[in-house]
């Protein structure tokens, strides 16, 4: 253990971790997260499902994370396998392995989890003794690039359907047959709402060569009518009554988000055209203030956390946000609790909320105008005016903040160089506002500008749009670098190669399964960790499959082209998305 970095990642034993006697339960469920411990433990979904499953007397849920490169090498060199944190059981000994799909750049780590865990990579190669491998999470809304590796996917909210999956599994295994056939289990699962079993569908070719690349492969009609034609996303209707972990695991290692979490809302009332969250989480649901107060008290008593974060796609949209923050502040009165507000809308009301949350601390506030010009903000349907943004900034400076963080995207549909220059102008205007408002404290003014490459995502109106290439991104970024020369303004940007790959995987078809396998075989892993990305190896893997990565990823799709994720029904129709795309073009 002393031979690997941060051994604490691999030992479990944290406060509130649940260790059951595995001989005393009927079903062993592994929650596997395809990234490091620190990232996975920050994920609320893990804590929710861990809690939900361990509340069942017949089930034990244990955790598995992707071991870092040094630990993976140690496991291999010892001829060992990847084991769960709680009972140190090999991943392959579990009945069900649930893998959380939060990010496209985790896909190679999914293969790493399976291989190190001693589970055949391809679902087709798994036998009666292998676990059932299920995927879930936001990326499952286009499961096709991973279709060959999973026995099933769960689309949408997991709290309820996970019980149904466990119940079906137990019913299948205990139906009296000595070795019940795996196909029988898959048929049972496919009958559940929100469950997608890729092997039960014919395959079809899409977009044959029109974009210069070979055909994409995707799910076609269900075989023998054994599965539904459309898989409808699961939605927990009553969020207030939905189970929530009030005794979450408290990691020893510092998680990326090392604090208590309360989920105040799920879904978003807005319809920003670039944003996939709307399709993944709608409709808007929220918890009652009283429920949240009760949960807060229990969580703080059970964890000892010194910081709490109300979670929502946007906290400004919670109807009783001011009351909630007032409560968190008084609960904090003698407990030295600090509140963190990760997401706010750029408006004055949000600044007032932030004042409530950060009583003394005025370190930094973050807002996301997304685009530089009013025209482009109308195009993406996030239509804040320059004046609104500047008024918000002024309010923040006057309330005592000296550092603002602004998020923008480059590569939005219909964007011109003029729109990129508008980012500079807006940022400068914010800086001028800061200088005026801060007066004698202007020396402390700091603006951090974060620029991301826009990635068209499935189930959004921009799903047909082209993604700009890394070269185009660099050129547009160059405009910002040339025009933003101030030591008060710090410019940061994402690695465009990562965005290229993320976009490719996000809109990929089944033909990418083979690419993924080759890339993994060539040593790719932890692609989301900038320094680990091996773009050359990825490009090779694509080339071997007859795909030009750059060309395919940056192609514009005809709006009448069939899409690899059409069988996944998130609740937003193609007609709606098309109408919104048209509106975007007209804006």
């Amino acid at each position: 253990m002393r031979r690997v970095a941060k051994p604490i990642r691999y030992v479990g034993g944290e406060w509130n971790a649940v260790k059951k006697d595995l001989a005393s339960v009927r079903l062993k469920f592994a929650f596997a997260y395809p990234d490091t411990y620190e990232v996975g433990m920050s994920h609320l979904g893990l804590q929710i499902l861990y809690h939900v499953l361990n509340q069942r007397d017949d089930t034990a849920c244990e955790r598995v994370f992707c071991p870092w490169i040094d630990m993976a090498a140690l496991i291999r060199s010892r001829g060992d396998v990847l084991r769960s944190l709680e009972s140190r059981v090999p991943l392959s000994d579990f009945d069900i392995v649930g893998i959380s799909l939060q990010h496209e750049l985790n896909y190679t780590n999914v293969l790493s989890l399976l291989e190190l865990g001693g589970i055949p990579l391809l679902a087709a190669d798994r036998g009666p003794d292998d676990p059932l491998v299920i995927g879930g999470g936001p990326c499952a809304v286009n499961p096709e690039p991973l279709a060959y590796f999973f026995d099933a996917f769960v689309i949408g909210d997991g709290e309820e359907v996970v019980h149904e999956v466990v119940d079906e599994y137990l019913a299948w295994r205990d139906d009296g047959t000595l070795t019940p056939p795996r196909d029988e289990l898959l048929l049972r699962l496919a009958a559940l709402e929100g469950v997608y079993v890729p092997s039960l569908y014919e395959e079809r070719e899409l977009l044959s060569g029109a974009d210069g690349g070979p055909a994409r492969r995707a799910a076609g009609a269900p075989r023998d009518g054994a599965a539904p034609e459309r898989i409808v996303r699961r939605v927990v209707a009553d969020l207030d009554a939905a189970p929530f972990p009030t005794a979450p695991i408290v990691p020893f290692a510092e998680a990326v988000h090392d604090r208590a979490m309360i989920e105040i809302m799920r879904g978003c009332p807005r319809r920003c055209y670039f944003c996939q969250a709307r399709a993944i989480y709608h409709p808007v649901r929220w918890r009652k203030l009283e429920t949240l107060k009760k949960q807060t008290r229990a969580i703080l008593a059970n964890t000892g956390y010194e910081e709490i974060a109300p979670l929502a796609l946007n906290c400004s949209d919670y109807p009783q946000m001011a009351e909630l923050l007032a409560y968190l502040s008084t609960a904090a009165g003698d407990k030295h609790l600090s509140v963190s507000l990760p997401s706010l809308r750029p408006n004055v009301a949000s600044v007032e909320l932030a004042e409530l949350a950060y009583r003394a601390k005025r370190t930094g506030l973050t807002f996301a105008p997304e685009a530089g010009s009013e025209r482009l903000r109308r195009t993406i349907n996030k239509p804040a005016t320059d004046e609104e943004i500047l008024t918000t900034a002024r309010a923040a400076f006057e309330a005592g903040w000296t550092r603002l963080k602004l998020y923008f995207m480059i590569g939005l549909p219909g964007e011109t160089d003029e729109d990129v220059r508008a980012i500079t102008e807006l940022t400068r205007a914010v800086a001028r506002t800061g200088n005026e408002a801060l007066g004698s404290r202007r020396g402390r003014l700091g603006i951090s500008l974060s620029v991301n490459l826009h990635i068209p995502k499935p189930h959004t109106p921009f799903q047909w749009s082209r993604q700009v290439s890394p070269t185009e991104f660099e050129a547009k970024l160059g405009i910002l670098k040339d025009t933003l020369r101030s030591r008060r303004i710090k410019l940061r940007w994402t690695n465009p190669s990562q965005s290229l790959l993320e976009g490719m995987l996000a809109r990929g078809g089944r033909d990418l399964c083979d690419v993924l396998r080759r890339a993994y075989g060539a040593g790719c892993g932890f692609d989301a960790w900038g320094e680990q990305l091996k773009l050359d190896a990825w490009q090779n893997a694509f080339r071997e499959c007859g795909i030009d990565l750059a060309e395919r990823a940056t192609a514009e799709w005809p709006v009448d082209a069939p899409l690899p994720w059409e069988h996944i029904d998130c609740g937003v129709t193609r007609e709606t998305l098309l109408a919104e795309l048209r509106r975007a073009h007209e804006a």
Partner: protein
Amino acid sequence: MRHRLPPGTRVFAQLKLARYGIGALLSQLEFARALHRAVRRADLPVVYSLGFAPRPRISFASPLPVGVTSDGELVAMQLERSMPSLELARRLRRQLPEGLELVELQVVARSKRALFAGIDLAEYVVDVGYQSAQAEAGEAVCGDAKQSLGERAESAVRQLLNRAEVEVVRRTKKGERTVDIRPAVDRLELCECDSDRFSLRMRVGIAPDAMAKPAEVIAALAADLGELEVLHIHRVALLASRRPRSQMRA
């Protein structure tokens, strides 16, 4: 209670903790955080610092390196008011995570500067592996390796203690430099010996001006004995080389 204390004096809970298993794998920061959260769960009346990001006033005598187990970690936390030691200990014990154990807790009143005053030594038991290749090539063939290794280790220890200077290479963030650890080695003795491993009990300095790490002492012995592998380090206690001034009960 507080008004009766001499000026500059505050109430502290002084703790001795054991760290085993998971507790030994924690970095200093992780240990501090785990303890802080346990204190919050136990609802102990700890004093917090003022300012934007209030921190609990919990201090540590000496950080424990990752992988080292211990029976004697000394921690002090400032309290808002005096409380019975037993009550505090009972509440904290229930909230400590696996791998951290409360050995002792007493409530004292003293000046902040006197908290860990005089704590300048650490006692360790170090298990050392003797390279099997050498054992096989040498005495092991004759069948009395056990005795030979014992004798050789004994003599290496004696020699080290007899030297006026013991130079080892110390790796720091700034690079490597040679240091003399002899002044910081207070005691060193062989306590157990097997055919391929032995244990040493040592008392070494932890103060910045006279400090020696257990691995450095082993490295110095390896100069005589050939390659040695540190198998396990256990901190027995943190000590003062001089008798501390008498404590005041709060």
